[in-house]
Amino acid sequence: MIEMTTIEKVFRTETVETKALAGVDLTIKQGEFVAIMGPSGCGKSTLLGILGLIDKATRGSYRFEGEEVATLPERLAARRRRERIGFVFQQFNLVDELTVAENVALALRYRSMSAGERKRRIEEALDRVAIGHRARHFPAQLSGGQQQRAAIARAVVGGPALLLADEPTGNLDSNNGREVMRLLSELNAQGSTLIMVTHAQFQADQAHRCIHMLDGRVIGDSTNQRPEAA
């Protein structure tokens, strides 16, 4: 599903050049659950941004579902994002001005479908993460766990092939963290490829693979013996 070859990402200012990714090679198969670990500043989130097509690599090749997307025009990259990719963030990143249901609907805003289909998908996504009863609430009226479930509903409502999660439990207590991990694992089990950046080893242990990064490079790629239950 994903083939990255010598991916580099350089951030430049007038005087400083910072290499966030220094030649990353990575292959991920359809349906895998991959955890990315590493210290702060190692390039995890940058890699996630490139994987999710919200950032572009400075150099290298990135093939997504067999298509070279490293140099994809913004318009087509946006299309891939809305049709094939879902995001979950540490800070949830819900739109404060929209209710839970409206936040989920926002993910379908740029796709053409009938109103009935849209409604059905939204209700289904909310039910999947068990937040349907809070559909008319605003993010500020929800707990952190509920917010993250709403964010997950938004990420999956479009039926993405690839789910990217950037420290999805980082702002949650342990109970809510476990619940979110359970949900993500379920989604992975239902067929979505899941790539998750995390600092927590116990979460990484739930993935099929764990990739370790340091200074913009992949320094380890191990396969986990996945436990039966989180």
Partner: protein
């Protein structure tokens, strides 16, 4: 724009209600200002253009050159011109004369002075006003027949139609002549130099005018030109016609002492090309109109800059939402288009609000500019299209900056907590825009202060007479001069009357007689001739600088000598101060007992009085001499003591009616007359103050936008400063200092220029205020204060917000 987009935009607007309101108020106020100016400029632009056949019609005007005097341009020509050229000049299809004629109009017991147009019948063929009833062309050809507008019909007969055959009586040549309504035409639908109320035939029998005289300018002459008419050739023929006419009248060898050269100006461009020819008071300088149009552009530009700046600040606060949209698959173009659409919708809402504001302010604006503007042009198809276009253009231009910002924004960075990443160059542009706004504000404030002070000064300046307690009967003595003594006696016997002064001239009366007198050396000097009655000086309380005033008991003081008198006896006169100087006397006292010659008669100076400023302080006073002469007394000034103004007017009117029950009278407090003298300056000043206020409001909003944007961008920096030890006060002070920089630059650059401009404007006034620099300084300080006020809310917020919260938010 989807429902979700609308919801987000609305809720974000409500969340940032302070920015939203400031933006909406700024836009609406600017739109309202622009609409008011637009209506005014449109009104001026439409001057005469609504007249039928206006594109073919032109006014013939005269350039009068009199020996030893400045050339004078008049809208009038000789009555003799039109008949001479009718049908004789190729390219001139029709010629018509028009004379403004006011006549006492009597209907039953109601008497009122009414303005009429006395016209050649061909005038209504040249400009065929739409008829409501009757045949105007037929009616105007009949003697003693009126063609009236609907408003005239309503005023005099209480109905806008159905008045054919109704009669009023007009006092012409001292006789009341019945005039019958022969046709009714539609009311004027636009501004014009024609005082169009009612017309009648320019009939020789109703007038004492010498229709064959080439020496006086008495009527306006209009020509209807054929397409492609050769104007230089027409002008040449016109001028040759005058030469031939004046030679015929005076004889080949006589020197008339003056020359007339004609010009032709199309009616369409009369308002802007020859405003000095407008006799109806609409002589506001085209520069003022252009200046207002320029002000409109400045206001719209400032508004756009502010709108863009505030919208950018608001968009920056929506960076996360935008980044989320991008991650959810929104293309850059879609996000940009969303912001542009929001911007257009916002601008449309502001236009609607601006329209409502315009409707509220319009009556006051009308009072200010002395017009009756209405909103009809904005409700017309072209008006609505213009407003819609304005909303779209404003929305697109004002929304392009935030749209560009969100399009350029890096969503990954924003979602990682990196902020919207406002570009330095954009912040620099904002800084320049705000500095420019401060500069414009400083200049306008300085201009408004100086202008206001000058108008106040003019109202209170030394005019060498005391207007308080005085009322004026204008144009008092018409045919019944024989009853003047009775009137003066009645007035003097009226309770509260302290003095009555009668003269050929008075406050606000512009037409004066000018004589060429000869100094002892034989050199000619032009002096205004002021015919007065003996009580004149004491009534006006004008200072006597030397000698004495007229004494009715001394025969040599009276200009009217009994029949058989010795005309070699010198005539006693009084000079004004300027007149004495013009005659070569260094001081008032040196003028006493000196003589000069007027015509055949020797004039002996018995006194010198201070210059009375009756009409203007813009120009230096004219030299004048006073004669005790009761033949040309037109202005009666009545001084009251211990009586309020209203009572004074009523008592004066009653005294008049007891002597002249059949003649209308116009009595006005002299204070009001003087107030009206500077109406033009006052209107311009108030307009300047109004638009300065608007510019200051916009500048304040711009400053607020910059302050908000700066606070948004520097929130993190300020939080870090707090963490490393800065207290709230020093953070607030730092923010205010930064806000003051563009204000100081703007004010520093603009104030000297504004002072220089103000001094140049003041130079037009003979009697003017000093200290434009002080006003400039006040304007500069006001702008600095404005900057502090605009930034203080954000400064206080920065000082109050706990640094931890800011850092978390960022």
């Amino acid at each position: 724009m989807s429902r979700l987009d609308l919801l987000i935009a609305l809720r974000a607007a409500i969340r940032d209600v302070r920015y939203t309101l400031v933006n909406l108020i700024g836009l609406s106020a600017a739109f309202a200002g622009a609409m008011l100016i637009g209506l005014y400029v449109l009104h001026e632009h439409n001057y005469e253009r609504w007249l039928p056949n206006v594109e073919k019609t032109a006014l013939v005007y005269s350039e009068l050159a009199v020996q030893d005097q400045e050339n004078y341009t008049s809208s009038r020509t000789q009555f003799a011109l039109a008949p001479e050229i009718e049908g004789r000049i190729p390219g001139v299809e029709r010629v018509a004369r028009v004379r403004d004629q006011s006549a006492d109009t009597v209907l039953q017991s109601h008497v009122e002075n009414q303005v009429y147009l006395a016209v050649d019948p061909v005038f209504l063929e040249m400009i065929p006003f739409p008829a409501v009833e009757g045949d105007p062309a037929l009616a105007i050809a009949q003697p003693h027949t009126l063609v009236v507008t609907q408003r005239y019909a309503e005023k005099w007969f209480g109905a806008r139609h159905g008045v054919l055959g109704r009669t009023v009586r007009l006092r012409l040549q001292g006789e009341l002549v019945p005039f019958t309504v022969g046709a009714v035409i539609e009311d004027p639908v636009g501004p014009s130099h024609f005082n169009l109320q009612a017309l009648f035939n320019l009939d020789r029998r109703d007038s004492d005018i010498d229709f064959d005289n080439w020496g006086g300018l008495g009527c306006r002459t209009y020509v209807q030109l054929a397409p492609g008419a050769n104007q230089p050739a027409i002008l040449q023929t016109l001028n040759e016609t005058f030469q031939a006419g004046i030679r015929r009248q005076l004889g080949e060898e006589s020197d008339p002492g003056f020359a007339v050269t004609y010009g032709v100006v199309p009616l369409e461009s009369l308002r802007f090309r020859k405003p000095e020819l407008l006799d109806n008071g609409d002589s506001t300088s085209p520069m003022f109109v252009l200046g207002l149009a320029g002000a409109c552009l400045v206001i719209l530009t400032l508004m756009l800059a502010n709108f863009a700046a505030l919208s950018s600040a608001m968009a920056a606060r929506r960076a996360r939402e935008t980044a989320i949209r991008r991650t959810l698959g929104a293309a850059k173009g879609a996000v940009g288009a969303q912001f542009l659409t929001e911007s257009v919708v916002f601008a449309a809402a502001a236009i609607a609000l601006g329209l409502a504001l315009t409707a509220v302010v319009l009556p006051a604006f009308n009072a200010l500019v002395g017009l009756e503007l209405n909103l009809a042009p904005l409700a017309s198809a072209s008006g609505v299209t213009t407003l819609a276009g304005l909303a779209i253009v404003t929305g697109l231009l004002g929304g392009s900056a935030p749209a560009l910002m969100v399009v350029r924004m890096d969503p990954a960075r924003v979602l990682a907590g990196g902020g919207a990443g406002a570009r330095g160059s954009a912040a620099g542009v904002r800084f320049v825009v705000v500095a420019a706004q401060y500069a414009i504000s400083a200049a306008l404030i300085c201009g408004a202060l100086v202008s206001y002070a000058q108008v106040q000064h003019m109202a209170k300046a030394t005019i060498n007479f005391v207007p308080e307690g005085m009322v004026l009967i204008k144009d008092a003595v018409r045919p019944e001069a024989t009853r003047l003594d009775a009137l003066l006696e009645t007035l003097r016997a009226t309770p509260g009357v302290a003095a009555v002064g009668v003269g050929s001239n008075g406050p606000g009366i512009g037409s004066v007689n000018t004589d060429r007198v000869l100094k002892g050396s034989g050199e000619g000097v032009y002096l205004q001739r002021m015919s007065v009655e003996a009580g004149y000086l004491s009534a006006y309380k004008t200072p006597l600088l030397a000698g004495r005033w007229f004494d009715p008991t001394r025969p040599e003081d009276d200009a009217l000598l009994p029949d058989g008198s010795d005309w070699s006896i010198s005539q006693n006169v009084v000079l004004n101060e300027t007149g004495a100087r013009a005659m070569g006397f260094r001081t008032p006292s040196t003028a006493l007992d000196q003589t000069f010659r007027r015509g055949d008669r020797l004039q002996r100076v018995i006194g010198v009085v201070a210059d009375q400023a009756f009409t203007t302080l813009r120009a230096p006073p004219d030299g004048a001499y006073y004669l005790l002469d009761r033949r040309d007394l037109r202005a009666i000034a009545v001084r009251f003591s211990g009586v309020d103004q209203e009572t004074a007017v009523i008592r004066t009117e009653n005294a008049w009616r007891s002597v002249y029950p059949d003649l209308p009278v116009e009595v006005e407090p002299v204070d009001n007359v003087l107030w009206e003298l500077y109406a033009k300056e006052r209107r311009q000043t108030y307009a300047l103050i109004g638009f300065s206020g608007l510019a200051v409001l916009l500048a304040a909003l711009g400053a607020f936008a910059l302050s908000a944007f700066s606070a948004e961008r520097r929130g993190r920096e300020m939080a870090i400063r707090r963490i490393v030890g800065a207290d709230g006060w020093s953070i607030a002070a730092l923010h205010l200092r930064r806000a003051l920089v563009p204000a100081a630059i703007g004010a520093g650059l603009a104030t000297p220029l504004a002072i220089a401009g103000a001094e140049r404007w003041l130079a037009f006034f003979e009697n003017r205020i000093d200290g434009a620099a002080a006003y400039g300084l006040v304007a500069g300080l006001a702008v600095l204060a404005l900057a502090v006020i605009a930034a203080s809310a954000e400064a206080a917020a920065l000082a109050r917000t706990p640094p931890g919260k800011t850092l978390q938010a960022v």
